[in-house]
Structure formats: structure tokens, C-alpha cells
């Protein structure tokens, strides 16, 4: 994973997620695990009658992926699912409240519900957290094609699917339209597919099965991979460029960094190195331009038609060149 998705190249130049606060809203984290020791800076449980530690194992699995790919990020465990991996909206909402209160940069949610939540308190919580600078990253769900999980369906949110080794979506990975028709998932990562699983930490205190590691798959595992990419990008933009990216920047860069379109229209598998380079090159605040170009791209499929339109467009040649390269090239053209 470190090499396949370009993480190692970023680590070698000091982009490791240092100083970035990542909330893991899950079943808790077994923070004494060798892969996580010293990396969990805060723990809280909103599950009644359960301690902060992970009695399931899932949260430990998710946190260990972040600890590996963004090794200097500060992890905050918010327990909102119980030992069986179940929770309620009333518990889940605490993750947003907590993330805002600590000034979190990224909030990883490898959880979901099959209900429609386009107009709901979780959608309100999402937009409120985003307005405070939190970047929520959601698992798109494991329902296959045609059904997207809540809260991944919320319009404009960062949702992550899981891909097979060949880059095609895994059969279980949800895809479809979000609340206002936007393609979900936004992007994919190698979180385990039909042909492989990934080795992660597990909680030895789990009531499901006691183990220190597990080979597991799902959009739950793909999500922390992208959360790690976001953490590294936040650090790079904050330290090198002096700006803090927001949710819309993260969405925009996903499309611009891959330049590919896959089933359901998402951005495909995102490479960490390419993503960070795109963020640095493009900069913040390009979300509206990206959405505009995205719309144009879907309307104009014929290159000759596009050339004709641009020829008669009263704009400087370099503006036309940028528009043409974005539409025909399918992205920012960074490599």
C-alpha cells in the first residue's frame, strides 16, 4: 500500500500527517496495540455502559490503517458503535459534535445505514462540521450498485468505495447517485476487493474474536486510506502553502488528480502522491471551477465540437487551453 499508492514518497519528504487531528468515529480503538501505541491522543465513548476501548475490533482496524499511512497524525477515537458494531443516530451525531469541539481536521466514518438521510439531522451535522473546517470522510457502503449508504449519500460529501486490484469497483462496493444526483463514491481505494483482503490490526479485547491482526475487506477499510491522504494533504497545504483546505477542495482535487471516470462516474482510485501534487499545483478554492468543468465534460463528448465552441469563445488562448486540457484530458494533467 505504501508504495502502490505513493505514500512512501510523501513520507520520505516529511509529509506524514504531523499535527493533523484525525477523528476515528467507530467501535473505539485498542490504543495499546503495537501499531497504535502513542498515536491515540484522545478517547471518548458515547456508547452507554461501554468503556472507551474497542470491544469489537473494527475501530482498531480502521485506526491502524491511518497510523500506518499517516504515521504522525494525531488520532482521536470517538466510540459511537458498540461491541457488536451497532449504533444509533443519537450516538453517531456525537462524533460531529466532538470533532467540532476539538478542532478536528479529518473525521473518518467507516459506518453507515441503509436509510435515506438527505434531509435529516445527520445531514445538518455534516454541513455544520464542514463549516467549522472538519473534513468528514465516509464509507460509501457495501450494498453493491444502486444503493448508497447514509451519510455518504449527503450531497458534496467525501465518500469512498473499495476497488479490486485491477482498479475496477469491488462487487460489494456501493455506487449510485447521492442526494442531489452527484456520483457516489467520490473515489476508491484498495480497501480489499473480490480478489484480496488487507491485513490490519484488530483488538485482542474483541468479543467477536480475539486477535491482534485480521485480513479484512470493505469500504470501511478503503475509507481510512483516503482519510490518510486527506491528512497528508492538510499537513502539506498548511505547512508549505499556509492554507487550510476544506471539504470542497478535497472533492475537487480527487477529480483533478485522477482524470479518470469509472462506473457511477466517480474519480476512480486516488494515488496519494499524485493527489498531493495536484493539491499543491491547483491550490484551494477551485471547487466551483472543477464543478463547472465537470458539467461541461459531461455535456461535451466530441472533441471537435469542443474545439469549435472554444474557437468562437471570447477568451484569451491560455484560458481556452486550460479548459480544453481539463475537459479532454479529464483532469489537471499532473503526473
Amino acid at each position: 500500500m505504501l508504495d502502490k499508492l505513493g505514500f512512501r514518497k510523501l513520507h520520505e519528504v516529511g509529509i506524514t500527517g504531523k499535527g493533523v487531528k484525525v477523528v476515528v468515529a467507530d467501535t473505539g480503538v485498542y490504543s495499546s496495540h503495537p501499531m497504535l501505541y502513542g498515536k491515540v491522543k484522545g478517547e471518548v465513548s458515547f456508547v452507554p455502559d461501554e468503556p472507551v476501548t474497542d470491544l469489537c475490533g473494527h475501530g482498531t482496524s480502521v485506526a491502524s490503517i491511518i497510523a500506518c499511512l499517516a504515521p504522525d497524525a494525531d488520532i482521536y477515537s470517538v466510540k459511537v458503535l458498540d461491541k457488536d458494531g451497532h449504533g444509533y443516530l443519537g450516538w453517531i451525531l456525537h462524533a460531529y459534535d466532538y470533532s467540532i469541539s476539538i478542532g478536528a481536521d479529518v473525521m473518518n466514518m467507516s459506518l453507515g445505514s441503509p436509510i435515506n438521510c438527505c434531509v435529516s439531522s445527520i445531514a445538518m451535522a455534516h454541513y455544520r462540521a464542514v463549516s467549522y473546517g472538519v473534513i468528514p470522510v465516509y464509507a460509501v457502503g457495501n450494498y453493491g450498485a444502486g444503493r448508497v449508504s447514509c451519510p455518504a449519500m449527503v450531497w458534496g460529501s467525501v465518500s469512498v468505495g473499495s476497488s479490486n486490484l485491477d482498479g475496477d469497483p469491488a462487487s460489494f462496493s456501493s455506487c449510485g447517485a447521492g442526494c442531489l444526483g452527484d456520483p457516489k463514491p467520490l473515489c476508491m481505494e484498495y480497501g480489499g476487493g473480490d480478489d484480496y483482503c488487507i491485513l490490519t490490526a484488530w483488538s485482542p479485547e474483541s468479543v467477536l474474536f480475539r486477535s491482534e491482526t485480521v485480513c479484512i475487506r470493505g469500504t470501511s477499510q478503503a475509507t481510512p486510506i483516503f482519510s490518510s491522504i486527506v491528512a497528508l494533504t492538510v499537513q502539506m497545504m498548511r505547512d508549505k502553502e499556509g492554507v487550510k483546505p476544506n471539504n470542497n477542495d478535497i472533492v475537487s482535487w480527487a477529480y483533478q488528480s485522477t482524470g479518470t471516470r469509472v462506473r457511477c462516474g466517480g474519480a476512480g482510485v486516488v494515488d496519494a502522491y499524485r493527489y498531493v501534487i495536484t493539491a499543491k499545483s491547483v491550490g484551494v478554492g477551485t471547487w466551483f471551477l472543477a464543478r463547472f468543468l465537470e458539467g461541461l465534460r459531461s455535456l461535451i463528448t466530441n472533441k471537435d465540437v469542443l474545439k469549435s465552441i472554444l474557437m468562437f469563445t471570447p477568451a484569451p488562448w491560455y484560458i481556452k487551453a486550460i479548459i480544453y486540457s481539463h475537459i479532454v484530458g479529464g483532469g489537471g494533467g499532473h503526473s
Binding site: L81, G85, H86, Y88, L89, I115, M124, N142
Partner: protein
């Protein structure tokens, strides 16, 4: 048993911070007499979690402090 009392957990989302503060005060002082139990507070979201008979939903809306009331539906993890 002559009847069954159903108590459901609800998410109560207030209009703003002022509404939230007034609702929390109302529930803390008169919650028991209203039959509404305050379970937890989410001050950053102007939201509270309560436990009550679904028949009381209208009573909460009538306070004018509440924007949305939603039952606390289930969630689960996304691994296969």
C-alpha cells in the same frame, strides 16, 4: 397489561444556540413532568437526544424551539 407505553429515542435539532439553551433549560426543569427524558446534549450541533413517548413529538414542536425531530435509527460498520 391494559396498554403498552412505547418510549423511543429521538434527536431534537434546535433552530439556533438560543433555542438550544432554552430547550435544555426546559427539559432540565420540566422534563420529568412532560414525560421527556434528556439523555445527552450536543452543544456544537444545537441538538439534544431525548427519550419520550412518540405522542410527545407535537408538544416539543409547539415550543417553537425545534427545527427537526427524528427517531434515532440504527447504524452499522461497513466491512464484509
Amino acid at each position: 397489561m391494559d396498554y403498552l407505553v412505547v418510549v423511543v429515542r429521538f434527536i431534537v435539532h434546535c433552530w439556533n444556540k438560543d433555542s438550544y439553551n432554552k430547550l435544555v433549560e426546559l427539559l432540565q426543569t420540566k422534563g420529568a413532568s412532560l414525560g421527556i427524558r434528556l439523555l445527552s446534549k450536543l452543544p456544537q450541533l444545537n441538538t439534544v437526544v431525548v427519550e419520550m413517548d412518540p405522542d410527545k413529538v407535537g408538544k416539543l414542536y409547539s415550543t417553537g424551539l425545534v427545527r427537526l425531530i427524528e427517531a434515532s435509527y440504527p447504524f452499522g460498520l461497513e466491512s464484509v
